[in-house]
Symmetry: D3
Subunit: 141 residues, 6 copies
């Protein structure tokens, strides 16, 4: 019987949506004002869901302080007050929030091993959020 931990982080960043393989007018048609050359930005919220047994000794799924240190040092710190088009995490992908949620999912899945990542949710605005999770997750949301 597993429990699920949800943890939220915040960062502020800018981005510009532009695909160099498309023409200027195709980019404008596809991305609208998000294609303007000077970019725009958001206050992003990242929510992780991790599954684990409740440890009999501690009563906890995982050590939150350890998770926070990992996230702040490796992901949130570098992205906060940055431009996402410059982020190595995205490695040249167009910095849509879809791509952001996928890349955060893959990075945490590979590098944080103290609990089992199930889902990454990234809120771009109060109206908009994207989620990513593996198709074979034992637990789905």
């Amino acid at each position: 019987m597993k429990a699920y931990l949800n943890r939220r982080y915040r960062f502020s960043a800018s981005h510009r949506l532009d695909n160099p393989a498309m023409s200027e007018s195709e980019n404008r048609a596809c991305y609208g004002k998000c294609n303007n050359p000077h970019g725009h930005g958001h206050n992003y919220i990242v929510e992780l869901t991790l599954a684990g047994e409740i440890d009999k000794d501690t009563g906890m799924v995982c050590d939150l302080a350890e998770l926070d240190r990992f996230m702040r040092e490796q992901l949130i710190g570098p992205m906060h007050e940055s431009n996402l088009n410059q982020q190595r995490l995205l490695d040249g992908e167009i910095p849509t929030t879809e791509a952001l949620s996928k890349n955060i999912y893959e990075y945490v899945k590979k590098n944080f091993r103290k609990a089992d990542l199930q889902r990454v949710r990234v809120e771009e605005t109060a109206q908009n959020a994207f989620e990513f999770h593996a198709p074979n997750a034992s637990h789905r949301f």
Copy 2:
């Protein structure tokens, strides 16, 4: 590997809960003050979840502007500042939020084809929300 887009819309409407097949006292026992003949109302929030591949060219699951246009023209616009007992969408069903979420789900599933609707959530108050999704959804929440 699919990503999931969540998009929120708001509208304000009134409703009265009353089943004409039940007696006045049965209606009062069933619905309490929600059965008062003059109705009451809410600020509703509708959240859709749609699944899709992240398009390689655009980095997006689906064109949000297109989804917004569909929702505003066909559902949110007609319901905003209306009385739900008058809505054709509900077609004579008692306008509970359960019925609202089911009918929005069925309408979007049938009429919006650019991404795969997974779930409709309707928040009636800050304490209350109802969700609807097909039993055979490939991804469940």
Copy 3:
């Protein structure tokens, strides 16, 4: 030296904006869809601000349980799940949120005497709020 207590209450109600002294087309021009004959509704939030000395014995400005009882019995209870056009509090005034905040202000000012009402704020939606307070309030917001 005074402290200020802010207390929030919630209720859900419907209303229709219509001035019988105006023609049908004037009403439509003035109120738009809010004039539709079947009404619409909101989840309202009422926030009171009351001033008072911090009592030396209790450390409190006023007994919150007493304020809550007053508000629930005399205002929030009767308005919750009602139609505002029927409310005696508004006494035939057009049930705009401006009128609601003014009438709640006047009712509480006159009838609750355990602390000094400074302001009433009524939130109609997440985008909209109205406030009312006397012009000669010793403390202004």
Copy 4:
């Protein structure tokens, strides 16, 4: 075809994280400041998700007034403005929010029979939430 009802409750409580089977320094290493002997506290939010058919006569999944009465009398009332280390619900378990979500899940599953409990979510802070649900739930979140 089932619909899902989500309902939220709030309570304020204190707790201290301390495992009597561990030494003082082990407890301090494990729980940090949450191990301080005087405790600390939170405004908790409990969200239940229940599944059910939409009743043909009433349009509802379950009678919310009945659910609210059950929750307030048996769980939220006793926990509000209490210390969780004293709660019989937790029966001597360390009052982490993981344990709280598991015990609320088990209690509601066993004792509320008017709809089918799917999930319990407990929010400890705006950054933190825990969820619990049975591994063989017919519907997963």
Copy 5:
């Protein structure tokens, strides 16, 4: 006796804090990561407070549809999904949120005459907000 209308608008934008009259290291010391050459961004919320008599015929302080049209056409539309360093509204000032609130205040005060602007509040993040209002406002907040 006046009532006060509060109205909220949202836009997403990027900015870079950099004073060309200061050296690179002075800019870095003053603005930290907000000085990075690629900028970052936010979801901004603008809240206006306007005072007015409650009109005897309409029950309203001012026509919200008219205020919304003014704000969307002249301020929110041009700023949404833009870079604030490019905005003519700021006219070369460093685009801090302090400067933004002051310039929005001055623009609305001068150009919207249907109600009396009292205050502009700009929220940059959930932790941060700036306000501006004239020192001789008849009503203060």
Copy 6:
């Protein structure tokens, strides 16, 4: 012409309301369940409002990093995950949120000199907030 900076901080703490000068039954009558000997707790939000000229060189009212360092080291850090009855800041006063807002006001007013403190607001729950400010503040809220 001054601008106003609002900055929010969060901490979680427990408290017990009990006046040793009153009898057990008087305490129970006065504080209800908040008088239970094991205490309870909250997620508190502290919002400061500070006034200042917008600096011509930096475009800012005051250096937020400096304010954050002051608040975290001297107030928020010591109170987070603590019991307020043990806090020296309150110096034996009954730890109501009224007393908390007054003492935070007086401490910041005396010890932080880079901008002019106007107001302290402490939110105890989503329904409840207390504010404190000096009667002769040049700007009032």
